[in-house]
Symmetry: C2
Subunit: 728 residues, 2 copies
């Protein structure tokens, strides 16, 4: 079976009224079959009537600022913690919003502070009794009495968000001047729900040509608390946190539904808030589940309206995505038709590709057609090179797409900006062509994968598959590693400690990865104090399982070891608690090891762990620095373990990981088949079509050799960034 | 007043029978007034009758191996933890001594294991009930029943030490072949006490010419558990730990005296034992106090015998020093006449010089007259350069001696070894001359010190003044720092958290240093959870105190900050708990700061802390790396704080510290007086004698300028390693 790639389709173009000719010209050039609007642009009739599918964006929580202004008690809220202040005497006044961006927040003086707020002495960690403090709504100040001199006090208080964060970011980034500040309304209130449904219906009626309603997204934005000081603008930001879902009404409903009450401190968490990087408490997971239940339930009503008008409902897997949890069991109940994810990297492509229960998965490629990028760097303006950005992002993303398909790609922003960048127009044309070729390859079935099934063990598990809180978090070991994994010919799943406790290690898994620093959600923190976790993993390794531990795997200050799996890994780490204990001497292993065969020269694992030591005479140290193992292997009964002191996404390390996975799974013999000799290149073989795709991810021309399934070598030369597809 | 240094005296020479001429010749050359024996040498009549004071060494716990052999139930003991073993099934056998050096230990099968031992499931941290395990004395194996598969089990058991550790070390290092292994007896038993006193009296009677009885030292050696494997020989060693003081009888007496019982786990501590680097528990401190009380009480009886024979009693502040605690309140009750400390560095010279309630403080200089050094490096044999070693150790020590005097110096070992090293003989002659000159300078009174009184705050406080567990622990921030402090013209004391709680910050202190890594005894660990500590230090800084925090000062995972004094320091550290919180931007301070005026070029603080961030808009960052402050200053009310991300003893850093102390104390104006312009040189001014000593600690000739108290510059040129003394 041979599939000829389409020359067009699968592409969503951002149109722009006033630039109709450009819109239609580029639609043809890039093979677009759909045209969309963006935040800040509209489509004219000439565009909407040109025969393309029309995507229209709608953000339901900021649809009507007049209604929001008239219902300020129904704006979205969150808990803030006032900045700690040391008491000089026995009375202390705290200006609650001091340090926060006052254009974003307004103290909630409508709901009884004594019922919903808490004041803490952070020096003793004790709550201050409600009788000892008062709030003055006019000044926004809490006065605390009977303070202890030099103790630090904070107030957990509720604030309305009076400027919707994404809109605020776009406003400030694009200098929208005195354009009105949009405010987010909270659908937890029946009145808001009624308003949203009415407004949505009206919006649908006003968009007869729209085929796809692109929700941005449902209701609650990821957490983004801005600071007052330009030196600390993004005070707290977490792409996966539920801080913005709180209100007294929601807390009351939670109490009724779950039978217990949460407090402000469950959210404030001594100022750490609900960060995805930290291990979530059971109470916090309950809250997430409660919010998810609500968001799916009311979201479904919105989607039903869309479907009733014969339109499709797509979700934008960013911005106000909180509460939707595309990897939750409940996600199917939305009945979304499509999922759109904004991506720079392979792991994000996999994050989108892995979502079930939607017909269409679509990538929104970078760069956005904005003058500047997410970090303020120039893009479509002087000093920018959007064509090169486009190619570099694409070669990252393409690695992931060879492994798992998505159904569409597209762009967003102001189309007119591309006029001065003809090489960008060429680059997108090239990308669109390659993308369609890859999509066609997948149509015959999945590409060949080695019989290596990898489970990444974190505190989040499947719920946050391919996610380490937002875009690429450079330096975060697990994020670096999932970017490598996203392009490897192995099967990857994500499991949690709760999964292990409920069902043990899934039957088909042959390698578990635990990767991260002590105390993080990625490594697992106090989950490692649970002896059942030890039992399950140790028994599984003893029976032949493969374990890869990275940085501080299973680390926890508990009992007689720091890495709770050091008996499997054969290494542990000195954190200052055992300085008087000598460390076992070792001779670094001599000769080439399978894992290191493609890794000449110095390892670069980024800021990897020091002070690692071997705990077993049988541990083999493959690489070290200053007498601290960086790669070590160890056997336990029938199983194999591998320790890496850190990880950084590089072609060499990706190869090292590929080999390590095969080694840990005791499957070295399968490694060579359909693997590129040159680590700067990757390939995927699609057996149903007997077709091989080979990609060059580097900025230079590369040669590479691939062993096919008959054991024959196939040689390739590839230009920079190029892909070849051949029958094989 | 001018004091002419003696040309001889104050020097103890190790004599050696068979080398009488050499002994007497070197005694003259080096100006010795006392001659000693060493472990492995004896003095002949020709030596003892030559008119010198005679020092004789005696180690009371290994005086008579025949008695020890006949009283094996009175050998010294300690708790060991068997190496963790994972249970494969429901029964587990643990060979207790597996992994330990069987020539050092023998399981105590005399005292009921069920009464004194404990078995732990280290996977759950739970104790295994005594009914579930049994000990077989013949095989040395504990069998545990009803084990849970893959849980790791350990046994806390009592072991006799059947080879006294120092003797074992000397035996093995010096290849003593089949010479008998000496065993240490425990004076806790009345029979042992009676024997020791009888034997000591006999020894005194047999040493009529001895003037000074040099005890090595009292009864209990520092902890040194050897391993079976040559890859892990020094399994656990801690110069300050009380592990070797345990026995059932002592535990019973403790219970009677203190009203509560300790368990084996109080000592084993999940395998961390009683390491000085960790914060001691209240229970452990009680035990130390109990042992100290006993050692002083019985030690005094021994010393009384010495005094009754008109001899003097000196203690060796190493080896079996545990329980003596020369910085404890009880030390005076020993009535020791002298204290001898084996030294390489300035902080050790200060440790000896600071001991009160003895007439004589004596330094035992390195290198010892042994073929090899403490780490096995060649000394008095091919490949060694003992003359250079001697000079380099001396220039370190000399910095400390300019600040605080000792009364004598001396050597130890086998004198005949120096015959092949005439340059060593010259070097010692030079050292002896310089030492005497310095001693003479101190006779008129203390050298000038700036009005800067520094208190080093640790969990140990004064009890472990100038001590970070043994010889120089390179890389341990506090050890690096006290080596710098030892030669600075400031007043240094050591205080504990308990001192602060009892009496607050001492009245005369103007700078507090807290230096070390989180969880260590040096930084303070969980003491920082005590709000009273925060209150005391914050109030004191607010009133004008100076705080210097190094590495992870006041660090503790508790409440809303990691550095519990970050409100004073103006910085905190990211340890993975606040990754979603943005860090305040800062501009590194421009222009030269007083603290850095003598620190051109890159800072070298060793392995210093990364991921430090500023917490206050007012924090001044003086040095940084990768956006992480390395030196930062901050004010709080009337007080000043300084943060250093690490510390390493170098001339540049010593100067930086000197300036930092003056700055923190708000005494910059006193810095220049009697300070050398060249950081490789130091000086001390003795006002009573109007005499200035200037030293060059480098291997090269150096020039330096000193401002005297009239503000006039004095210029010096000094040859490598040399000292000049002038009237000024």
């Amino acid at each position: 079976m041979t599939i000829t790639p389409q020359q067009q389709g699968r592409f969503t173009l951002p149109g722009e009224a006033g630039y109709e000719d450009l819109t239609l010209e580029l639609a043809k050039r890039w093979g677009a079959d759909a045209i969309r609007d963006s935040d800040g642009t509209v489509l004219s009739d000439k565009i909407t009537e040109a025969g393309f599918d029309i995507y229209s964006t709608v953000c339901m929580v900021r649809m009507d600022n007049a209604w929001a202004k008239a219902n300020m008690d129904k704006l979205q809220q969150n808990y803030l913690m006032s900045k700690p202040v040391a008491a000089e005497g026995s009375t202390l006044q705290i200006d609650l919003l001091n340090g926060y961006f006052r254009e974003q927040f307004k103290v909630n003086a409508n709901d009884d502070p004594k019922a919903w707020w808490q004041v803490f002495d952070r020096t003793t960690s004790e709550e201050v009794p409600a009788e000892q403090w008062d709030f003055d709504a006019e000044s926004g100040i809490v006065t605390i009495r009977n303070t202890k001199q030099w103790h630090r006090y904070t107030v957990n208080f509720l604030a309305y968000r009076i400027w919707e964060a994404i809109s605020m970011y776009n406003h400030i980034t694009n200098n929208w001047g005195d354009r009105e500040h949009l405010m987010p309304v909270d659908p937890i209130y029946p009145e808001t729900q009624e308003f949203i449904l009415r407004k949505l219906q009206q919006w649908i009626d006003e968009h007869p040509r729209t085929k796809v309603v692109r929700f941005t997204s449902m209701f609650y934005n990821f957490a983004w608390f801005w600071g007052d000081s330009p030196r600390l603008r993004y005070n707290y930001s977490d792409w996966g946190a539920y801080d913005n879902t709180v209100s007294p009404l929601a807390l009351q409903k939670f109490r009724e539904a779950r039978g217990y009450a949460l407090t402000s401190e469950d959210f404030v968490n001594a100022g750490r808030f609900g960060s995805s990087h930290n291990v979530p408490s059971k109470r916090y997971m309950d809250w997430m589940d409660f919010v998810n239940e609500f968001v799916v339930s009311f979201g479904r009503k919105c989607i039903d309206l869309v479907h009733a008008s014969d339109k499709e409902a797509f979700m934008f897997y960013d911005d106000h995505w909180v509460g939707t949890e595309p990897y939750s069991d409940r996600f199917k109940d939305f009945q979304f038709d499509g999922m759109i994810k904004c991506v720079f990297n392979a792991f994000e492509a996999r994050k989108c590709a892995g979502v079930e229960h939607v017909k269409t998965r679509e990538l929104r490629l970078h760069p956005y057609l904005f003058p500047t990028g997410l970090k303020g760097e120039p893009t479509f303006k002087e000093g920018g090179n959007p064509a090169l950005d486009c190619k570099r992002f694409w070669v990252n993303i393409r690695r992931g797409l060879l492994r798992a398909p998505v159904d569409r790609i597209g762009l967003g922003g102001y189309l007119h900006l591309v006029q001065d960048f003809p090489d960008f127009v060429d680059a997108v044309e090239q990308v669109a062509g390659e993308y369609r070729a890859i999509a066609a390859l997948h149509e015959g079935g999945a590409p060949y994968a080695a019989p290596v099934n990898v489970a990444v063990l974190t505190a989040w598990g499947k719920l946050r598959s391919w996610i380490c809180s937002g875009h690429f978090n450079h330096g975060l070991e697990l994020n670096e590693m999932i970017e490598s994994l996203a392009g490897l010919p192995v099967n990857v799943s994500f499991i949690s400690f709760d999964d292990l406790l409920k069902s043990g290690v899934p039957h088909d898994v042959n390698v578990i990865i635990n990767c991260g620093r002590a105390g993080s959600a990625w490594s697992g923190g106090d989950h490692w104090q649970n002896p059942e976790i030890n039992d399950i993993i140790t028994a599984w390794v003893a029976r032949g399982g493969g374990l890869i531990g990275v940085a501080e795997p299973s680390a926890c200050r508990y009992s007689s070891q720091y890495f709770q799996l050091s008996h499997l890994l054969g290494v542990d780490r000195e954190t200052g608690q055992t300085l008087s204990k000598d460390k076992m001497q070792y001779e670094p292993a001599q000769g080439a090891h399978f894992i290191l065969e493609d890794t000449p020269g110095e390892l670069d694992f980024g800021h990897d762990m020091d002070k690692v030591f071997v705990t077993s005479e049988d541990t083999q140290v493959l690489a070290e620095r200053e007498c601290s193992p960086r790669i070590a292997t160890h056997s336990f009964q029938a199983g194999r373990s591998l320790y890496l002191s850190g990880f950084k996404f590089t072609p060499q390390n990706t190869r090292l990981l590929h080999r390590a996975l095969c080694w840990a799974a005791n499957q070295q013999d399968v490694f060579l088949r359909w693997t590129c000799s040159n680590v700067l290149t990757d390939c995927a073989y699609y057996p149903a079509q007997k077709t091989l795709a080979v990609i060059n991810s580097s900025d230079n021309a590369e040669e590479t050799t691939i062993i096919n399934d008959k054991g024959e070598p196939l040689n390739f030369k590839l230009e920079p960034h190029k892909m070849k597809v051949i029958q094989s």
